[in-house]
């Protein structure tokens, strides 16, 4: 399974790409998109939303399942990927190129490396 080594991961199967200045791109991993199956809808947050640790950032729906992306840290939504409104399937097709939101993360907690993530999903 593809787990790019330049990314960081959460235990909830999300990837984070550092953009500098405490900002990160967030998406879901290959493991997550495979588990969900054909993704049909993504409920995106509003730009400017403040998300507290433990709260839901976005909801990803497939035909027979739904997954809430909960944040293990406090963050603010800087940008969302509007492309997903019309083409949610991009999360299936190219999960690491397709981001869901750009976040300002105040303190990066509960985040693991690619190796650790690989171990987690074994």
């Amino acid at each position: 399974m593809n787990i790019p080594s330049n990314l960081k991961y959460t235990k909830e199967h999300d990837w984070l790409e550092p953009l500098g200045d405490g900002t990160y791109k967030l998406g879901i991993t290959e493991y997550a998109q495979e588990a969900l199956g054909d993704i049909v809808y993504v409920e995106l947050p509003e730009v400017g939303d403040e998300i507290s640790a433990g709260d839901t950032l976005a909801t990803v729906e497939s035909v027979k399942a739904v997954s809430e992306i909960a944040m293990p840290f406090d963050c603010e939504v800087l940008e969302t990927n509007a492309e997903l409104e019309d083409e949610p399937e991009k999360l299936n097709v190219s999960c690491y190129e397709t981001w869901i939101a750009v976040l300002k993360i105040y303190e990066l907690e509960e985040v693991i490396s690619a190796e650790e993530y690989e171990e987690l999903i074994k």
Binding site: D38, V40, Y41, E61, S62, V63, K64, P88, E89
Partner: protein, 477 residues
């Protein structure tokens, strides 16, 4: 001509139903509708043919075997329909005076009494429209009970991981925190775990018994004791009541409040998804909290009565009366002994199918089941790639409605089979043969199963496309 929507059959002027001469100027300009109405214009004969065509593309209990687990698709007696069509039941306005509807009220009262006897409950409301509605009502009552005792802090509801999805959804709706109880290997409630978790915050436990694996919770007395000791209430999900009528009653097992599905256990037709009826019964302690109004007998007269402690109304008027009327007709037809006979044969039929199929599918419980059983196709899936879904679809070609698939969630490749008591051995044998043939075919010619069904009006449908780009109504091109 065929495979068209009614809107595509429309021809301007074809509908010649003439009722009155009217003047559109009656409507003040300010309030008048300007938007087009877009109703189809079809003759009566075309309308009749349209629905006959749709009927040919539907499958009910009247068309063939329907062993849909957890749904109790038993035969819906025709006499029930005749009774429900009697003018003096159908054409009563719900706000007529109580003296105008004494016949209906007698039906409601006697139905309530009979259901209390079957379940061992003290009192009952007929107001909820369906099982999920009954669950919600029950949880509101439990919440009200705790609050009236000054124990509004109780906020935990225990639900086994094998439960119906409505259980956690109903608990969440009234603001309770859902605590999932794992099942043991045998599919029972993990009593040790429950004992650890039950505390002063316990509001209730929601339980189906027999559970969704079709087995009876043998530790029910102990479970009730644990919850009651913690000060919580036991709620019984009556979805599986068809297994136990005349053998054991929820009231005697220690349940405090429960719902029934009259459209399952008491033979009222499911109507393609409703209307149902989900009466809620309870102990004397909880009775003051039942929805308003309740029905009482005062001398020879039946009366509606409101209670100050009631949770209030959960639906307009008195419930789905014509559904309740059918259920009462059924109870009168069968009588006490007949209801027990129904449960006895429901359990016999399920065990017969289980015995015939156990060599071909992995049964999820040892020993005897109750009125339904869960089997898994995961060995077939691993060895041939054929899934429970493929097997289900192949049954469609044999004119059998498949079992419930992929439920309970704790079983992989689950098929949940509930034959009901109204099926003959011949029907059960036919269905077993079909299921056995499919299991064998999975090894010989998996491709044939992947392509099933082949005889239905449509082949497998693109559910992903439907959800990605929802088309929820017809739009003229």
């Amino acid at each position: 001509m065929y495979n068209k929507l009614i809107f595509e059959k429309s021809v301007a002027g074809a509908n010649k139903r003439k009722l009155f001469n009217c003047d559109e100027k009656t409507v003040p300009e300010k309030y008048a509708r300007k938007a087009k109405l877009n109703l189809p214009d079809v003759s009566e004969v075309d309308l009749v043919r349209h629905y006959q065509e749709l009927a040919r593309k539907a499958h009910g209990v009247a068309n063939g075997f329907y062993p849909l687990g957890s749904c109790t698709m038993k035969y819906n007696p025709i006499i029930n329909e005749e009774i429900a069509s009697i003018e003096n039941f159908r054409n009563i306005h719900p706000l007529q005076s109580q003296s105008d509807m004494q016949g209906s009220m007698e039906v409601m009262y006697k139905l309530k009494e009979a259901l209390c006897e079957v379940t061992g409950m003290y009192d009952m409301t007929l107001q909820p429209s369906a099982g999920a509605h009954g669950e919600l009502t029950s949880l509101m009552m439990i919440k009200q009970f705790h609050e009236s005792n000054g124990e509004g802090y109780r906020n935990k509801v225990f639900i086994p991981d094998s439960a119906h999805g409505t259980n956690p959804a109903s608990a969440a709706m009234v603001g309770y925190e859902v605590v999932e109880i794992p099942s043991t290997d045998g599919g029972f409630v993990d009593v040790k775990k429950l004992e650890e978790l039950a505390d002063e915050k316990t509001a209730a436990l929601m339980l189906t018994n027999p559970n969704t694996l079709g087995i009876f919770e043998r530790d029910i007395v102990k479970i009730a004791e644990i919850i009651h000791k913690a000060g919580g209430k036991l709620y019984y999900d009556g979805a599986n009541m068809n297994a136990i009528m005349g053998y054991v009653r929820p009231g005697d097992m220690g349940f405090d409040v429960m719902h029934l599905n009259l459209h399952k256990t008491f033979s009222t037709p499911h109507g393609g998804g409703g209307p149902g009826s989900g009466p809620v019964g309870c102990t004397q302690e909880l009775a003051p909290f039942l929805p308003n109004p309740s029905i009482k007998k005062n001398g020879e007269m039946y009366e509606f009565e409101d209670s100050d402690d009631s949770i209030g109304k959960v639906k307009s008027f008195y419930g789905n009366f014509l559904v309740n009327l059918r259920a009462y007709t059924y109870i009168l037809s069968l009588g006490g002994k007949g209801l027990k006979e129904a449960s006895e044969n429901a359990v016999l039929n399920a065990n017969y199918m289980k015995a015939r199929l156990k060599e071909y599918y992995e049964m999820q419980s040892d020993g005897y089941c109750m009125h339904e059983f869960v089997m898994s196709a995961s060995k077939i899936k691993d060895e041939t790639g054929i899934s429970a879904l493929d097997i289900a679809k192949s049954m469609l070609d044999a004119k059998i409605h498949p079992p419930t698939m992929y439920f309970p969630l704790i079983v992989k490749e689950a098929l949940m089979v509930e034959p009901t008591e109204t099926e003959s051995k011949k029907t059960l044998d036919y269905a077993c043969d079909v299921l056995i043939d499919s299991a064998k075919l999975a090894y010989k010619d998996p491709e044939a199963l992947h392509n099933a069904p082949s005889t239905t009006p449509v082949k497998r449908l693109d559910e992903v496309g439907a959800a990605r780009n929802p088309i929820l109504k017809y739009t003229e091109e």
